[in-house]
């Protein structure tokens, strides 16, 4: 049995770990609430935008470069992860989905390129020795619309230059504080937008200044919004995942402290008993 001193040491070290995990959980909870508010605020806008675009798309027949479906030669997969670890399977799940998608695409005979948003994804891709085209890091915590614009701009440029013919984004969709779902969406070419609630009567829309002009500005905008939404969803998911995993870590520390304390008391009891036996033995010896 381990010495009393060692057990005492371990107990105190587990206790300080518990304090850290508990604090991290609280920080994650605060960040999570903020992220959740932002995503809930953005959702109506994103959805309305989809509806407006759907109305546009059903009347527009002009081809737009971002809508045009080309022969797939090269697919770009973007992994959206966090900058930090300690959030359970959050980042690993993304990587698993990315690897799976890469295999699927390769089976179809298309070349695959990779990009990453977030430090973890960047590291994981590099560690696997996969080529990384572009990586955006350091946006965790203060995601702004500018980040989304920057990413969208890069993607659109490369898409128009035909660096790749399809763009897929892999991210954690935020369902609730306990559930995050890995979701794989195609960003480009923009899917034909289908509205869930079509207008009962489809009068032709009038456009000012022109159909083309509206379309030209609205399509990139929609892409930016989609990316922005994914960024926020991912952040909310990350904090939620961290909250859960820190909660579990705190619980595990509690269990460990309990079992170590038991062990400590047993050892203490054993040593007292041993000392008593020694004294009694000594007295007996003296008597004789």
């Amino acid at each position: 049995m381990a010495g009393l001193k060692e057990i005492r040491k371990r107990i105190s070290s587990v206790k300080s770990t518990k304090q850290i995990t508990k604090a991290m959980k609280m920080v994650a909870a605060a960040k999570f609430r903020r992220a959740q508010t932002r995503i809930l605020e953005l959702r109506p806008y994103a959805e309305k935008m989809q509806t407006v675009l759907a109305n546009l798309a059903c009347t527009v027949d002009t081809g737009h470069p971002l809508l045009e479906i080309r022969i797939k030669k090269r697919v770009e997969i973007i992994a959206l992860t966090g900058d930090k670890g300690l959030c359970g399977a959050f980042n690993t799940n993304i990587m698993k989905a990315v690897i799976k998608t890469v295999k699927e695409k390769e089976a179809e005979g298309v070349e695959v390129g990779l990009s990453a948003i977030g430090k973890k994804g960047t590291d994981l891709i590099k560690r696997r020795g996969l080529p990384l085209r572009q990586s955006w890091t350091g946006l965790a915590g203060r995601i702004s619309y500018l980040n989304a614009q920057e990413i969208a701009k890069d993607i659109i440029e490369n898409y128009i230059n035909e660096t790749f013919d399809e763009v897929v984004l892999v991210y954690n969709e935020f369902k609730s504080a306990l559930v995050q779902k890995v979701s794989v969406v195609r960003l480009l070419p923009l899917a034909k937008v289908v509205s869930e609630e079509p207008h009962e009567f489809s009068l032709p829309f009038a456009y000012e200044p022109s159909q083309q002009a509206i379309f030209d500005t609205m399509l990139p905008k929609n892409l930016e919004i989609q990316i922005f939404r994914a960024l926020l969803e991912s952040q909310a998911s990350e904090e939620a995942a961290r909250m859960t995993s820190m909660e579990n870590a705190t619980k595990a520390a509690d269990d460990m402290i309990a079992s170590l304390t038991l062990q400590y008391n047993k050892a203490r009891q054993a040593s007292i008993t041993k000392e008593l036996m020694d004294i009694v033995g000594g007295v007996e010896a003296l008597k004789q």
């Binding site: 932002r38 605020e41 953005l42 109506p44 806008y45 309305k48 935008m49 509806t51 407006v52 109305n55 546009l56 619309y145 207008h199 009068l203 032709p204 829309f205 009038a206 456009y207 000012e208 200044p209 002009a213 509206i214 500005t217 609205m218 919004i225 922005f228």
Partner: protein
């Protein structure tokens, strides 16, 4: 509900307004226009400006920082980059932004001229609207 339009103003930072109104005046990119119920369906982009909506004898002003508007006979959706009701405008912040933009315009050799102009326009519109109430 005769003659009413359902007006929704949404931004990436949340919904600003969702009401039944009688009349809307919006700052379209091709000029200001009015909308009444039964308007022909159309879509246009919006400039920086003030959207006015009337309900009965109540008039409300909303600051719009460019975006899009979709008008159908009974429903109007405004997708704005940002929007504020007149009573939500932070006049002090707008004044500070105006000063900053003017500063930048003064020595605008290497700064993005268009961006500073847009910032100035936003600030001025906000201040005007804040003073109007």
């Amino acid at each position: 509900m005769e003659g009413k339009i359902k007006l929704d103003i949404v931004t990436p930072h949340g919904s600003v307004l969702s009401e039944e109104v009688d009349e809307i005046t919006a700052p379209g990119s091709e000029g200001e226009f009015g909308v009444l119920a039964g308007h022909e369906s159309f879509i246009t982009s919006l400039n920086i400006g003030v959207l006015t909506c009337k309900t009965g004898n109540k008039t409300e002003y909303v600051f719009i920082n460019s975006g899009y508007i979709e008008v159908t006979a009974e429903k109007t959706i405004v997708l704005a980059d940002s929007a504020e009701r007149s009573d939500e405008i932070d006049a002090e912040r707008a004044a500070a932004a105006k000063q900053r933009a003017e500063e930048r315009l003064k020595h605008a050799d290497n700064v993005d001229f268009a961006r500073a102009t847009a910032a100035l326009e936003r600030a001025t519109t906000r201040i005007q609207l804040a003073q109007r109430k």
